[in-house]
Amino acid sequence: MPKRARGAFSLLLGVTLVATVASACGTTSENAGGPAEPKPCGGAGGKYTIGVSQANVAEPYRERMDADIRKAAAGVPQFTVNFADAQQDNSKQVEQVENFLTQQIDLLIISPNEATPLTSVVKKAYERGVPVLVLDRKVNGDSFTSFIGADNFDIGRRAGEFVAQTLLPGGGKVAELKGLAGSSPAKERSDGFKLGIGGKNIEIVASADGDWLRDRGRQQADALLKGTPGIQVVYAHNDPMGEGAYLAAQDAGLTGIKIVGIDGLPIEAGGIKAVEAGRLAATFVYPTGGKEAVEAARKILVDCQQVPKVQGLAIERVTPDNAAEVYARLNAGG
């Protein structure tokens, strides 16, 4: 009996596979590719589904990005927005974009986990005539409608300049808490910072990977501060790691250490509030671009207009002087 059963199931599996293959024959024309043929714009009378492919929602920054998109889209009655979370997995994100294409979405907003692995599926969507807005992290080539985001290298440079000019004008020792090794923002925020402090007698005496996480940041900063005496400033690639470094400095009884973060999320647990409370010396707002993306989508789908290929978002420095004002401004209106 079991033997026959196995035969039957092998057969069933075979049939399923053959069916998949056979049904594939119908799609060969689709696979041929071809030039982009934008769909005719539906205008204000239409209904539009937007697919949002998010690299992961485990980080507060990306959660806020989704929230910004949701909030802005609520103001456009023609829009329905579907969210997908790739959980930091390139393969999963490719799969999810494919799913959106199957659903025949009208526009794709994507914040890629990594550039190269997502390039071909973004290109595929674009070539099918689906407008693609790339948020925060880029893809390769130019097969997308518009890139919206700030510049990680530039934000690192601004952080470096701040350290050089304001915190350590006479030079000094810095520790660097890096983001996840192998991720492009970690490299760019690091390279930019080095340029920013260049020629100012400032030395990065220690560095460690904090994987973007508060607890890892605390643990690593603890080791750095104990292992390398004389550190005056900690530069963290994001605010949560900076908060971790603050806790580590408290533990070690080092009250004079200044901490600089990045992201400046306008939420209760975010970097701007940490600056206001004096835990961070400064942070730099790396805008999520969520609001701008929905605005671009409205222009494309509802107003039938073109949007610029690249929309750089302004970086803003947050210090105790302006923290309350920035916080209020970023949370005001839609």
């Binding site: 079991p2 696979n31 959980q87 799913n99 090794a181």
Partner: protein, 325 residues
């Protein structure tokens, strides 16, 4: 009949989930989106890497072990393939062979430490997971390695792009083809060879197997080697699919693979499980995730549902009559 049901619960599950997917499929222009060929491709392609890992994992779990390193080995292999092709100007075949050999050796070493030193597989492969991830980051220089194609130095041969192409001649997604071949060979290996009897014997009762002359250590080492080899293969497929070697790629993939094996009806204490079950388990998760996504079910709810499916599959195994092999 009851025995049948339990033995191939995941196949029945797959059929049920498949039917449910057809019923609940969104309809666009009179067509069921789920049954769209491009969508079915996407499901099979997306599950192929996990499926290949899960086939290797089946063997390890059958001998009562576990391999937590496969996700990291996948990442390591994807980096290895990319670095060899792009930075070292290896040909496709040498690069693939070197990466497969590396995966095999990594697995064999874990097997040796497990079998000869008697350290639990969980511990050994937990260490292996960290080591493989570290090697991936070191080998890549901490950065993802892009694979560009062409004849110039610093570019991978076009032949590798064929391997990574989404479909072979527009017909079959290549990863699915590789997955099917791997699963087919593994199923044969587990049905007709003496090796298979040894694997089940060890998983059933290691002491008894040892006493009856089964070369327990050798079989265990081979099983871990096979698992490492398949993880490396999955990594090569991964690199080809994404044109990218990612030092952080494949994290948590080991858990997806274990889930596929468990849903496939295998027992984590060893001795019970089939390749067909595992394949069905992997496809079941893929189809389930796809239909939930097509219906815009929130990703957190999806995690919840897949978690419940794992519990249900394990629960069904508990109800299974003892006499069923």
């Amino acid at each position: 009949m009851i025995a049948w049901l339990f033995r191939f619960q995941s196949l029945f599950g797959l059929v049920l989930v498949f039917l449910a997917a057809v019923i609940f499929s969104p309809v666009r222009n009179g067509e069921l989106l789920f049954l769209d060929s491009a969508n079915l491709f996407n499901v099979v392609r997306a599950m192929s890497e996990i499926g290949i890992l899960a086939v290797g994992m089946t063997f390890v779990i059958l001998v009562g072990g576990i391999d937590l390193s496969v996700g990291s080995v996948l990442g390591l292999a994807s980096v290895g393939a990319a670095v060899l092709l792009v930075r070292q100007d290896f040909g496709v075949l040498p690069a693939v062979l070197v990466v497969l050999a590396a995966g095999l050796v990594f697995g064999l070493l874990q097997g040796v430490v497990t079998a000869k030193l008697g350290i639990q597989a969980f511990i050994v492969t937990l260490a292996g997971m960290q080591i493989a991830r570290a090697l991936a980051r070191i080998w890549s220089g901490g950065q993802g390695v892009e694979i560009a194609y062409g004849d110039a130095p610093g570019r991978a041969p076009m032949a590798f792009s064929l391997l990574g192409e989404r479909t072979f001649g527009g017909l079959v997604p290549i990863p699915a083809l590789i997955f099917a071949v791997v699963a087919g060979l593994a199923a044969i290996l587990l049905r007709v060879t003496a090796f298979s009897r040894h694997v089940y014997a060890i998983g059933g009762n290691e002491k008894a197997a040892r006493l009856s002359g089964v070369p327990v250590n050798r079989v265990k080492i081979l099983v871990f080697g096979l698992c490492g080899l398949l993880a490396a293969l999955a990594g090569i497929v991964h690199a080809g699919q994404l044109n990218y070697g990612g030092p952080n790629d494949g994290s948590m993939a080991e858990l997806d693979a274990i889930a596929a094996v468990v849903i496939g009806g295998a027992s984590l204490s060893g001795g019970r499980g089939t390749v067909v079950g595992t394949v069905a388990g992997a496809l079941l998760v893929g189809v389930l995730r796809n239909i939930l996504t097509l219906n815009n079910v929130d990703s957190n709810i999806q995690l919840l549902i897949i978690g419940l499916v794992i519990v249900a599959a394990a629960g069904l195994q508990r109800l299974r009559p003892a006499a069923v092999g």
